[in-house]
């Protein structure tokens, strides 16, 4: 639309989240915080200042009791194929240029202008309002997989990208092919921990990976598809109201009728 050429990758890491299996238990959010060294906040109820790379939204069918239904929707970074955040960054602190199509965010480069936050309709990007100070001693439980970020930079989910690097190293060490990892060799923390297995993860382009087919399923959809950002995170639900809520069908009144693209 504006002269952006969407880059193609041989490997496209993607997630398929089955909303009919997500109980909203929160284990994924906890695992994410642990893996990514997010310091606990004194008042985490102030959701406008928290850091939640992975956030579980609660969706409601807006019906009165006893017909009310709810569903939980975990929202990592969508790792958009056509990201809104990447072209706006003035200092190339975020990019989508590595095999696998994960949108990178480099904390030592970021100047904290928050333009990318303004650009992202999914609210997947978070500004680090305060320095990551852990309760005394808890820094001994820091994960080696993600650097701690100083305040004043923007951060976001990166599909636990360090695990990708580690999986490639392991493949090299054990004689596997680092450029064609088998299904499950690389899993983000949230997908790994999920007790109901609601989160599937793999290479969307590799037919040997489960997500390849799952993403094409009839109940699969992506959030705000009409904005054409082409997220690499797919959702699945058999419940029509859940699928409707994923995009802006509400206004046109034509649920699922006109998916212009995809």
């Amino acid at each position: 639309m504006h002269g952006h050429v969407e880059r193609e990758f041989k490997i496209t890491w993607g997630m398929v989240i089955d909303l009919d299996k997500c109980t909203g238990c929160g284990a994924c959010m906890t695992a994410c915080q642990v893996e990514n060294n997010i310091a606990p906040m004194l008042d985490a109820s102030n959701k406008l200042r928290t850091l939640s790379w992975l956030l579980v939204f609660e969706m409601s069918n807006k019906k009165a009791a006893p017909d009310a239904e709810i569903a939980y929707l975990p929202r990592p970074c969508m790792q958009c194929g056509n990201p809104a955040c990447v072209p706006v960054c003035p200092v190339v602190a975020t990019d989508k240029n590595e095999e696998g199509g994960i949108v990178s965010q480099i904390y030592p480069r970021c100047i904290g202008c928050r333009y990318c936050m303004a650009a992202c309709p999914y609210h997947a990007r978070y500004f680090n309002w305060e320095d990551p100070i852990f309760p005394k001693g808890m820094e001994k439980a820091l994960s080696p997989n993600t650097s701690t970020r100083p305040r004043g930079v923007v951060e976001k989910c990166n599909f636990c990208h360090t695990r990708f690097v580690q999986a490639k190293d392991k493949a090299r060490q054990t004689g596997g092919n680092p450029d064609a990892l088998p299904d499950g060799a690389y899993m983000p923390a949230c997908a790994e921990v999920c007790p109901t297995g609601a989160i599937s993860f793999g290479d969307l382009k590799n037919p040997e990976h489960k997500v390849h087919e799952l993403a094409k399923g009839k109940n699969a959809f992506r959030l705000l598809e009409k904005l054409e950002l082409h997220p690499q995170v797919y959702y699945v639900s058999k419940r029509e109201w859940v699928r409707k809520l994923g995009d802006n069908y509400a206004a046109t009144g034509k649920p699922g009728a006109e998916k212009k693209h995809s």
Partner: protein
């Protein structure tokens, strides 16, 4: 050399110009920017080899079989153990925060003795242990002078505790915190059977949960979630239906095929109305009391059902049709918050399994017989006495213990009518808390003996409530040395017993657990490496419990009171564990806002009570009251207010202390008709706007 003003200016200008040709400014800028990447006050990552070690993480009530990831020997994350058939690679949200909890600011760092109201002083272990022995010595042989409360349902520590009390002459002094295992086991007795009930979710094709929050906080949560997940492969058809009947559209209900909003006061009525319809639809059962049962159920007509639950009777018909169509239906009965339901609610629900012929079947209800004990003199698990009744006796002076030992329990916080219970505890002269964390009970103890975190200790879990077949897990420490100055409570007690001249045959908890494993025929080393021991799936002859159910008395509500439905979410912590710092983010702002808890009710209830969204209200029951804000939530049953458990902490740490209010304060205890059990699941409260 002297310099006039002009010369000086030139010198400075020359200096500035020269500086531009040196690295000073450029490298300075670069270094300053680099410095901002690594501000000195920001913690550095740990380096070293990353390993994963099996552990039994008993931070949640069931205990998760996890792999603890360490870097350079320091634990940093808990991931699932895919080899373990129970957790199958899943981890609950509390155990997922295990490594961080090891360094929780709420941990008790060393033994402490009380030196004044709310004041503590660190002491040495040898002094602490001597103090314990000194307090116990004069009480030896006096019945009823030493009491213990255990909050651990599954550990062999209970055997040591009860055997020690028996050996010191206070055999009746061992009590456990309320949990469903005990009421359910009593329910089984009322149905003429024996053993701890189990539920084979994995094998069922229709699971009806009446109250039991099986996919979030009831039973072996992770195993249940895994079983649930397995029946609905992503992108394919579901192989089992899940239906939740309970007061709140909770996490379990959110993924169920159907949610039936049943007020907590109508659980028995719901079960019996369902029984009535099933019998009308042709269900028969060979149980001897079928006739009585049928007659009893007949009273619960669809009209009665509508009156009791506020639901339309069509939903009942629909449910009957689904159950009839299912090959392996399973009914799980339990209180929505895992306690206080009494035996009759359980019997009413469990009787449906009997009626449908599902006892002892694959995908049905099972019975687990008592496991062999490691210590012969220990009390039988199913005969355990409950702590709520005990403290009620202390309050009235019927029980007069001089020393109370509290093991992994938090009775000062987590018993109904919490205010009264804490007061009753105050009547006991010397209280010892064996606790990992500075909980409410530790904060009123005279002696705090810090217990190790699960990664620092040996522990085991026998038949966590809800498992379908006999199950035993055991674990050993992940790290070489505890990060705080702690000792295993069981080791401390065994040593104290020894000094009091009582030998229980073991020196350490590790030995007890190894003996237990041996008694079961299991290999301890394999268990500690993340394995599991399982027995056979078994049933037993059960009646429909008609005799007991006949005595059930319906709860009466008047216009001013509403039913109270406490909501338990595992991620937000347990009775023994305030919300882990890493889980604070999971708590929604529709549940907790700053320091205010939000009480949930549907719009119709709010209208009846004359309150609207955001109103500050006071909920009172008995002597207790809590304050909260109103949040309208259409997922709450009619005439019911729902309130989260686990908040309103008065001890712990800066992350949890003083946030929200404690629902236990307004849970009121009553005697269950016919069984004499203490119940509080059907508590009612008065709501007033403030």
């Amino acid at each position: 050399m002297g310099l006039d003003r002009r010369g000086f200016v030139k010198f400075v200008v020359g200096g500035v110009a020269g500086t531009l040709f040196t690295p000073v400014i450029w490298q300075g800028l670069d270094d300053a920017a680099t410095w901002s990447q690594n501000w000195g006050w920001i913690p550095r990552l740990n380096k070293g080899e990353v390993k994963a070690t099996s552990a039994l993480s008993k931070l949640c009530p069931t205990g998760c079989a996890v792999k603890v990831k360490t870097v350079g020997g320091l634990p940093f994350a808990a991931v699932g153990n895919t080899e373990n058939p129970m957790s199958k690679g899943g981890v609950c949200p509390v155990c997922a925060a295990g490594a961080q909890l090891m360094y929780s600011p709420a941990r008790v760092k060393s033994p402490m003795k009380k030196v004044g109201e709310g004041k503590y002083e660190p002491i040495k272990w040898e002094d602490a242990e001597a103090m314990l022995v000194e307090k116990l010595t004069p009480l030896k042989g006096q019945d009823g002078k030493i009491a213990a409360i255990s909050g651990d349902e599954t550990g062999s520590a209970n055997e040591v505790l009860s055997a020690m009390l028996a050996g010191l002459g206070s055999g009746g002094g061992f009590h456990v915190m309320p949990g469903e295992m005990f009421t359910a086991t009593k329910g089984v007795k009322l149905m003429g059977g024996n053993g701890q009930p189990g539920f084979d979710i994995e094998g069922a094709d229709l699971v009806l949960m009446i109250g039991a929050d099986a996919l979030d906080s009831w039973g072996p949560t992770v195993a249940n979630q895994k079983a649930f997940g397995a029946t609905r492969p992503t992108g394919a058809d579901a192989t089992a239906q899940f239906i939740y009947a309970g007061p709140v559209l909770n996490n379990t209900a959110s993924v169920c095929d159907k949610f039936l909003a049943v007020p907590p006061t109508a659980t028995t009525a719901f079960s019996l109305a369902l029984a009535n319809q099933l019998i009308s639809a042709g269900a028969v059962c060979p149980a001897s009391d079928f006739g009585d049962y049928k007659a009893l159920a007949a009273k619960f007509t669809p009209e009665e059902f509508e009156k009791a639950t506020g639901l339309k009777s069509e939903v009942l018909k629909d449910l009957v049709a689904k159950i009839k169509a299912a090959k392996a239906p399973l009914v799980i009965a339990g209180a929505s918050f895992g306690q206080g339901a009494g035996a009759l609610d359980f019997v009413a629900g469990a009787s449906l399994n009997v009626l449908l012929g599902r006892v002892g079947q694959k995908g049905g209800m099972t019975l687990l017989s008592a496991a062999p004990k490691a210590i012969a003199s220990a009390a039988d698990r199913e005969n355990a006495k409950d702590a709520a009744s005990f403290l009620a006796q202390v309050a009235t002076g019927k029980a007069t213990p001089a020393v109370l030992l509290v093991y992994e329990a938090n009775p000062a916080y987590a018993l109904p009518q919490a205010g009264d219970m804490a007061k009753a505890m105050g009547n006991i002269g010397f209280k010892v808390s064996f606790s990992t964390y500075m909980d409410e009970t530790a904060a009123m103890a005279d002696l705090i003996l810090p217990a190790p975190h699960p990664y620092e200790r040996f522990d085991d879990a026998m038949n966590p409530y809800g498992v379908a077949k006999p199950t035993y897990l055991a674990g050993k420490p992940v790290i070489a040395k505890p990060v705080m100055d702690v000792k295993d409570p069981v080791d401390v007690m065994l040593a104290a017993a020894g000094k009091l001249g009582l030998s229980l045959g073991f020196e350490t908890y590790a030995d007890v657990i190894k003996a237990k494993a041996k008694a079961l025929g299991a290999d301890f080393d394999a268990l500690a490496a993340g394995g599991i021991w399982n027995g056979e799936l078994k049933g037993g002859a059960l009646s429909l419990g008609a005799g007991a159910l006949a005595k059930a008395a319906p709860v009466k509500l008047d216009g001013k009171t509403v039913a109270l439905a406490p909501v338990s979410k595992l991620a937000y912590g347990t009775d023994n564990l305030a919300t882990p710092p890493a889980n604070l983010l999971v708590v929604r702002d529709s549940e907790l806002l700053g320091k205010d808890l939000l009480v949930q009710m549907n719009a119709a209830t709010a209208k009846t009570l004359g309150v609207t969204e955001g109103n500050k209200i006071k909920l009172t029951a008995g002597d207790g009251e809590v304050k909260a804000l109103v949040h309208v939530n259409e997922g709450v049953a009619a005439g019911t207010v729902a309130m989260l458990m686990g908040f309103g902490r008065s001890a712990w740490d800066q992350f949890t202390k003083g946030k929200g209010d404690n629902v236990y304060k307004i849970l009121t205890v009553s005697d269950e008709a016919g069984t004499g059990l203490k119940v509080w699941a059907g508590s009612t409260v008065t709501v007033a706007k403030i």
